[in-house]
Symmetry: C2
């Protein structure tokens, strides 16, 4: 008999009343009340389970079923019966039950609350719990909402490269990608050894190795490295390569062809931070729009965030209710607030004024000092969005010295056309800017920041060949999922989190 998904039964249980259905799933609980019993069966097609009633004298061994452990995979065929008097509006009266796969006694998930830390150690099983079932379904729905939002607006989705030869995007520490043998990488044999090493013996690598040098001698090490650096012409790509920190530069080239484009892919940071908000591997969305200024950029970002939130409220109601009850009681209220209110927009300079006023009123309001030019701390951002505006806020026109080289210099010569979206309960959600389209200004900024324009030849060339005002932003997807679920640790919204020291599974 053809399987029916439990989510479809929930949708149609009134019509299905009295009909025989076949369902397959995993037992959440098995209760034996002597001659009959109950199974809470969940197949993951939706948040809600089906209640199965089994009894002696049917086409299965009652005791065998009653013995099944939590986690067992079962197929149940039986009639759907409406139970309007119960909490659950229907149950399935089992005529046949097949044990597709038993669950061993040491199954770690029992019918009790496990800590998030415990479940992290069971990353291959935790999607079977109520909370992770909700989180990972919302993650999936949010991803679809994003693709649908951009598809409806004609944006072209671009797969920017993961492995990159550019190591100077300045957005953070990079992982290196290589096929060289780290135990014994090929080295350039220097034709002209550094003068002070001449005459020293060569070791098996053709390197100059001083005799009897102690482990702490550093001078010769440096000279030796110079004389015999790793030979990257023998690496897979013929040069040093790493994992991307952002697809922005690459996707700008596509905006100059399609007008409206976006990326949605993994990005990486090799920073050894150990916070609840940073992962070494995370997914990012980076839209880019030609013929677009900072206002257009914010309009798109606001529409996108509202679209994701509305889509989730509409398509994940049971999941959100569960999370609102057990994880974060402010969740649904906060999401509706985002959906229903126009986001505020104010300048960095205005925000500094507000913060200075708050300090004037209460001296020890903040831990970190506030002054024009400072990089705002999380406490400052949250004060603005949570205490003052009580809704999402775009801060614009930041001091140029705390922002990236590609942001467009404003006419005041001091600020750039950046826009960060701050949201209550999480802080920065989106970081965007209008890009510097003027070649001379861009090159000047790169020089000021110590970047070699030659490394970006094709990026600067975009300004010579029909460049124009354009803008874009980045949304950290994992952080967006934290916002949608009320989950406070990035490790718990990512299927298999990658953080410093952690790569099990």
């Amino acid at each position: 008999m053809k399987r029916t998904l439990i989510s479809d039964i929930w949708k149609n249980h009134e019509k299905l009343n009295g009909r025989t259905v076949s369902v397959s799933g995993w037992a959440r609980t098995v209760r034996d009340v002597k001659n009959f019993g109950f199974i809470e069966l969940n197949d993951g097609s939706g948040h809600r389970s089906a209640q199965v009633v089994f009894e002696r004298g049917k086409g299965y061994d009652y005791d065998e079923i009653a013995r099944q452990n939590v986690g067992a995979a079962l197929t149940v065929v039986g009639a759907l019966a409406a139970t309007p008097e119960n909490q659950q509006p229907f149950e399935i009266k089992a005529d046949q039950i097949t044990v597709e796969g038993a669950s061993a006694e040491d199954y770690p998930l029992q019918k009790k609350r496990h800590s998030m830390e415990f479940l992290r150690e069971k990353a291959y099983l935790r999607p079977r719990t109520n909370v992770f079932n909700a989180v990972f379904r919302i993650r999936s729905l949010a991803a679809f909402a994003i693709h649908e939002f951009f598809n409806k607006r004609g944006f072209v989705y671009v797969h920017t490269p993961i492995i990159t030869g550019s190591d100077a995007e300045g957005a953070g520490a990079m992982f290196q990608v290589t096929t060289l043998d780290l135990e014994n990488p090929p080295r350039n044999v220097s034709e002209k050894p550094a003068p002070d090493l001449e005459g020293l013996p060569r070791n098996v690598f053709g390197e100059n190795a001083p005799i009897n040098a102690s482990e702490k001698t550093t001078g010769p090490t440096e000279a030796r490295a110079k004389a015999a650096e790793v030979d990257y012409t023998q690496d897979f790509f013929g040069k040093k390569a790493g994992l991307t920190v952002s697809g922005q530069l690459n996707v700008e080239a596509f905006a100059m062809a399609f007008s409206n484009v976006y990326t949605f892919g993994p990005t990486f940071r090799a920073e050894k931070s150990n916070t609840t908000r940073h992962a070494a591997e995370f997914w990012m969305i980076e839209p880019e729009m030609a013929f677009c200024d900072l206002k257009g950029d914010m309009d798109t970002a606001e529409a996108m965030v509202k679209y994701i939130v509305s889509y989730t409220l509409k398509n994940a109601a049971p999941e959100l209710e569960f999370l609102n009850k057990f994880v974060d009681t402010g969740l649904i209220g906060r999401l509706k607030n985002v959906r229903d209110n126009k986001f505020a927009r104010l300048t960095y300079t205005e925000a500094v004024g507000i913060l200075e006023k708050a300090i004037a009123e209460k001296k020890d309001r903040f831990e970190f000092p506030v002054f024009w030019g400072c990089d705002l701390q999380s406490e400052h951002e949250r004060f603005i969005t949570e205490e003052i505006y009580k809704k999402p806020v775009f801060l614009i026109d930041y001091p140029k010295d705390i922002k990236a080289f590609y942001m467009r210099l404003n006419d005041d010569g001091k600020t750039v056309a950046a826009a960060d979206l701050l949201a209550p309960g999480i802080g920065e959600l989106v970081g965007g800017s209008q890009r510097e389209e003027r070649l001379d200004m861009l090159e000047k900024r790169m020089a000021e920041m110590g970047l070699n324009a030659g490394d970006y030849w094709w990026y600067t060339d975009l300004r010579r060949f029909g460049g124009n005002k354009h803008a874009g932003y980045g949304l950290g997807f994992d952080r967006m999922v934290m916002y949608l679920t009320g989950i406070s640790n990035i490790r718990d919204v990512t299927p298999y989190p990658r953080t410093v020291g952690s790569i099990e599974f």
Copy 2:
């Protein structure tokens, strides 16, 4: 004035007749006919351009406009005029023209056909050409079609990890990911040096380095490596890590929670092959279904391929017409054939019989020999799908020795429940299988193939905790885009291709 996308004008040009519009885009051609001229303006919102007519005596410097090079970014405001007598059904009579960004004289794309090889060197500009405009828009549409197909069916999208600590998936050579300094990686100082090295001096790395050893001495090198291997406890993840070759094992765990799931993300192969069908970085879709056998697997794969093809035929008609005319005249016919025909299904054994019969009729039919147990070559696959069936064919039940360890052993003990989808014009498009859900059989297969079951502890555990018959497949996305566009080199369907020796941009 608010910008209108040229694709929206094409949709509504009859309604817009006589109305003033503002368009922005890049000049494909600028033709000066003395006192008036024509600009073919493309904004990338669709495949088709708008024709702009400009003339002397309007609100712009005629000569400045006439001088603009191909590639210049322009904003044009003017009235839309129907031109039913011309090839193009409308034109825009420019009242104002703003040069948003000129295009320098050395702009490499001119109004002529450039070779694909030349355009590959200009990867940052090639999306502005007609052919790449079509290819990358189809790529984007196909990606959306895939997400929509699975979303409609309630599949949960799972971001499986890109960086993995498992180096034994057996699907191909892996890239290593590291934050260690390759010039000078930390090494384990062996507490007990290998006996034959005792008494030798230590170099600055604390390694045993023989004195005056010639470059060709290999014995001591090996011993030395043993004595002081790279210390991966100091690497970012505390162990050796690499780039994933497949998300399948990870996503199986999610299928055991949500029933129906899929991945769509980048995967990697560090193979130094230089073919038109292999890239080092490519995107893959890997659905996985619980309580599902090989038949269900093929049903989903067939429905998905047809969905992608139908979606593209419907939403990329101008692009497909262009490609059908200039790249591959069989393209649209082939796609309709896929959309409209039920795919054939036959066993590997039957296919071998067909091939042997063909050889009996014509001895030198194939270059490579055919016998039961052989891995079919591309020429064999294409003969089956192009000559015999003339439509897509699933080949099932392959000899176990040429397939992966996780495929379910059939009752004959010789074959496994694998299904490869072969398509005319491209060969293998999808590779799938029912997975081995029986723990003892799985462990036996792993042992036979020399794999260490301990490395897969959580994967085998899935069989102990409510395992059940399940199946899935992989679709190489870049190869699917080749199929949808008729483009014969994978480098030309990937925004910034990564192949051996190639990582510019």
